[in-house]
Symmetry: C2
Subunit: 236 residues, 2 copies
DNA sequence: AAGATCAAAATGGTATACCAAAAAGCGATG
DNA sequence: CATCGCTTTTTGGTATACCATTTTGATCTT
C-alpha cells in the first residue's frame, strides 16, 4: 500500500464504472461523490480523474462534469516489461513483414526518397552506435508510415519502443558486434528498399522477414556464447 | 487558454528539463521550486508531475524527490480515438492475416478444439447479436493466441477493442444485417479454421485476408447506402 | 576518528477552503 | 405559452495548510 494512492483510487473508479452500467457519453458521478464514497479527499479523486483522462477513458468539462469517453477494457494496459527479446522479435517479424508487403503497394516517391536518405545516414554513421540505432528506428518507422495507415505505423513504433525499454535488450544490444550491425543489417535494409522500389509486395515481405531473421540469429549467437542469463527467456 | 492547466504546466516542465541538461536518473527540482518558478500553486505542479509520471518520463519517490526516468522525446502517446473504421479494418487485415499464417505453423490440437467450439457457439447464437459478437471476438483472439506469442495476441486484441470503443463503428455495427453477419462471416471463419487444420500458412493468410475483405465490403455498402456521415472517413 | 543515534529539515502526500465557469431553476415579459 | 434574462446551484479549478516519510547532518559515544 506504499503505492501512489491516486492510482488505487483510479482503479477503484474503473471498477465502479464497470459495475454501474454507464454508456459512452454518459455523465459520471462527480468528484465529490467519489470522494465521499471512498472516504478520501476530493484532491485524490481529482488526481485519479486526471489519470483516467490521460488514459482517454473520460473527458472532464469545467463547471459541467466528467463524461465517459470509452469503456474501460478489462485488458490492463500492456504488461510489456517481461516479454523476452525473442518473443518481441518474432512479433516484429510477423507484423513488419506484412506491413512491408502492404507498404510496397502504397508507398510514394517522397517516402522512397526519405528511406534512401535514412539509409545514407545509417551508412555514414556506422561507427556511431547511437546515431546508427536512431537511423535504424527511423527506417522501420518510415516503412510502416509508407502504408499510409496510422495504426500500422503506431503498432510498429510501439513494438520498437518496447524493445528499447526492455532491460534485457539493452544488455544484449551493448554486445552486438559492430560488424553485424553495419555489414549485415544495412545490406538487409537496402534489400527491403529495393523491393519497395519495385513495388513488389512478396519481395518486400520476404526481405523484411529475412532481415529480422538475421537479427534474431545475431542475438541468438550472442546470448548463446556470452551469457547464460537468458535461459527460458529466449523463445516465445 | 481554456485548456486544462496542468497540461500546460506539464509541457513547460518538459521544456525546462530539455533546457537544463539533466541526465536520466538525476533528481529534478522539487514541486515547490517549479511552483514558484511558474507562479502557480504546488497542486498544479503536482498534477503536472502525475501526468509526466504516467507518461513514464519521471518517477516520484515519497519523501525523497522526483527523478528523470527517460528523456522527453516526441513520444506521442497514440491519439487512437479518431481513426476511421476502414483504417482500422485495413490494419487488422494486414496484421491478422500475417498472424494467421504464423498460427498455422504453431497451433496445437487444443487450440484447434477451442476454435471449433467457438465456431459451434457462434453458429448456435447466430440470432443473438451480443453473443455472436462475443464469439466473433473470441475466434480472432484464439487465432492470435495460437501463435503462442503474447505480443501478437495483445496487438490483435488491442485492435479489436479499439473497434468496439469507436463510436463510428458502433453506429455502423447496429446496422449490419443479420444475414451478412451469420451467412458470410461464419463461413469465412470456417475457412480459416480449415486452413489452420491443414497447417497451411499461405492458405490461412489468404482466408483471413479474404474474411476481412468481406467485412470491409459489407461495411462499405452499408455506409454507402444508408448514411453519408462517413465521408472522408472511409479510407486510410 | 569512526560509528551510532536522534533531531531537524526537505519533500512528497493528503485534506480543506475558496474561486470561477457552466448549468439549472425560475420568474418576468412578450 | 414560449422565451429571454437573472439568480441560484452545481461542478470542476486553484490555492493554502498541514501530515508522513525520507533524507541529512550534527552530536554523542566508543
Amino acid at each position: 500500500m506504499a503505492e501512489r494512492l491516486y492510482k488505487e483510487i483510479g482503479e477503484k473508479i474503473k471498477l465502479e464504472i464497470l459495475k454501474s452500467d454507464l454508456s459512452v457519453g454518459d455523465k459520471l458521478p462527480t468528484e465529490r461523490v467519489y470522494a465521499e464514497l471512498f472516504g478520501v479527499s476530493r484532491t485524490l479523486v481529482r488526481e485519479a480523474f486526471i489519470m483516467l483522462e490521460i488514459e482517454e477513458l473520460i473527458e472532464v468539462k469545467k463547471g459541467s462534469g466528467s463524461y465517459l469517453k470509452c469503456r474501460p477494457m478489462e485488458r490492463a494496459a500492456a504488461p510489456i516489461s517481461d516479454v523476452g527479446p525473442f518473443e518481441l522479435l518474432q512479433a516484429r517479424q510477423v507484423i513488419e513483414s506484412a506491413v512491408a508487403a502492404c507498404a510496397a503497394q502504397t508507398i510514394t516517391k517522397a517516402d522512397l526518397q526519405k528511406l534512401q536518405d535514412t539509409l545514407d545516414l545509417e551508412e555514414a554513421e556506422l561507427h556511431n552506435v547511437e546515431k546508427a540505432n536512431a537511423a535504424d528506428r527511423e527506417f522501420h518507422l518510415l516503412v510502416a508510415q509508407a502504408t499510409q495507415n496510422t495504426l500500422l505505423a503506431d503498432n510498429v513504433l510501439r513494438l520498437w519502443d518496447m524493445r528499447d525499454n526492455n532491460p534485457m535488450w539493452q544488455q544484449l544490444h551493448s554486445r552486438i558486434p559492430e560488424s553485424s550491425y553495419s555489414g549485415q543489417w544495412l545490406k538487409d535494409h537496402e534489400k527491403v528498399l529495393m523491393q519497395l522500389r519495385k513495388r513488389d509486395a512478396e519481395g518486400a515481405r520476404e526481405a523484411m522477414w529475412q532481415h529480422l531473421e538475421n537479427v534474431k540469429r545475431t542475438l541468438f549467437e550472442l546470448s548463446d556464447t556470452e551469457s547464460p542469463d537468458f535461459d527460458g527467456y529466449l523463445f516465445s
